[in-house]
Symmetry: C2
Subunit: 206 residues, 2 copies
């Protein structure tokens, strides 16, 4: 029997950062519009309409649509980083990898719309905002790379090139946001399980 | 020594389908604008300006910006499919996989801008155009799945779940378009070589 705690979906409410319900309505409406018509095709009026607010009310909370995109992007990257850091805290590299890939994959399936917008619109952020997001991304990558290196040093993983293997492990999870559709062959958790097994093989620990 | 024929970059000129130089200028300008400001943020005037044409001249060749996006999307998917079909024609599953992953990965690194636009703007196509593109995509996926199945039947690959393994092999290559930047650690061909080795492990043939 699988451990019921381990079966709990890894992803918390992505909007928990914004306890104010108006903020949550704004980011949800913005996400929907960015996903449907892109950042550049979204006007502040689309976000206002989608959230049932006036544009004036919207400006109380956000400086503009780029500011909402940044909030979404930062939130998505923070959640992914938290999940990865929690997984790599396991001292057993094999168990850490299994948790990491399962949760990271399931998260990208569950939050595919957020993940897509965050990836596809990275270039629409201001330089300062993009730099902040890239720091979060680098921390996530370094946590995964650290695990690969640690497992290789312990003789649990066999890795000819740590950077290429790290990129591949991350790609497996991230690309799920592009192609996953609910109601298909696998639940997010089931897909996470398959991918965890594949990632173990990829690192020579299958 | 590596075989010099095998070292030739896999990707032909992506615009070879359009021998008319005006068409090539239009699709190149549209690609640049879609990549910079998204499909929804691109006006027909951006494409006209970028290609140095009047909008009237543009309409001689394309019905509108969606028609140009469709041309780009179809071309990208046809090229990817051709490359995959050429690879899987090798009767040796292990060699076919190595060629497939190397070329598919290198192609996505080389043509990352085209690949990104094609992926990110799939939802902007008309239903009829998207259906046509999805047929091409399905043919590509089925060619990869057929190879995985053939290798498993021959005892060369060990694959607990053919569909999950196929999705993972495709993701490795496709996601390269998202993160690859030239001038970094690897040339497209070098990255393709690393990923070919990782894909072999993933299928239990490492």
């Amino acid at each position: 029997m699988p451990d019921p705690v381990k079966q709990t979906p890894a992803a918390p409410d992505p909007w928990a950062e914004w306890p104010h319900p108006t903020c949550r309505r704004i980011v949800a409406a913005a996400l929907e519009s960015f996903a449907a018509r892109g950042f550049h095709g979204t006007g502040i009026k689309h976000i206002a309409q989608g959230s049932g607010l006036s544009t004036a009310a919207l400006y109380v909370h956000f400086a503009g649509k780029e500011d909402v995109l940044f909030a979404l992007s930062r939130r998505g990257h923070v959640l992914a980083r938290e999940l990865v850091l929690a997984a790599v805290a396991d001292p057993d590299p094999r168990a850490a990898l299994a948790t990491l890939v399962r949760d990271f994959t399931a998260w990208h399936a569950e939050h595919r719309t957020l993940a897509r917008v965050v990836q596809y619109e990275l270039g629409a952020l201001t330089d300062a905002h993009r730099a902040e997001v890239l720091v979060l991304r680098r921390e996530t990558e370094e946590a995964v790379r650290g695990l690969v290196r640690r497992g290789a040093a312990a003789g649990v993983f066999t890795v000819p090139d740590v950077r290429a293997a790290t990129a591949a492990v991350l790609s497996l999870g991230i690309d799920v946001a592009r192609w996953y559709e609910p109601g298909g062959r696998w639940t997010p958790q089931e897909l996470g399980g398959h991918y965890a097994a594949l990632a173990a093989r990829l690192l020579g620990a299958g």
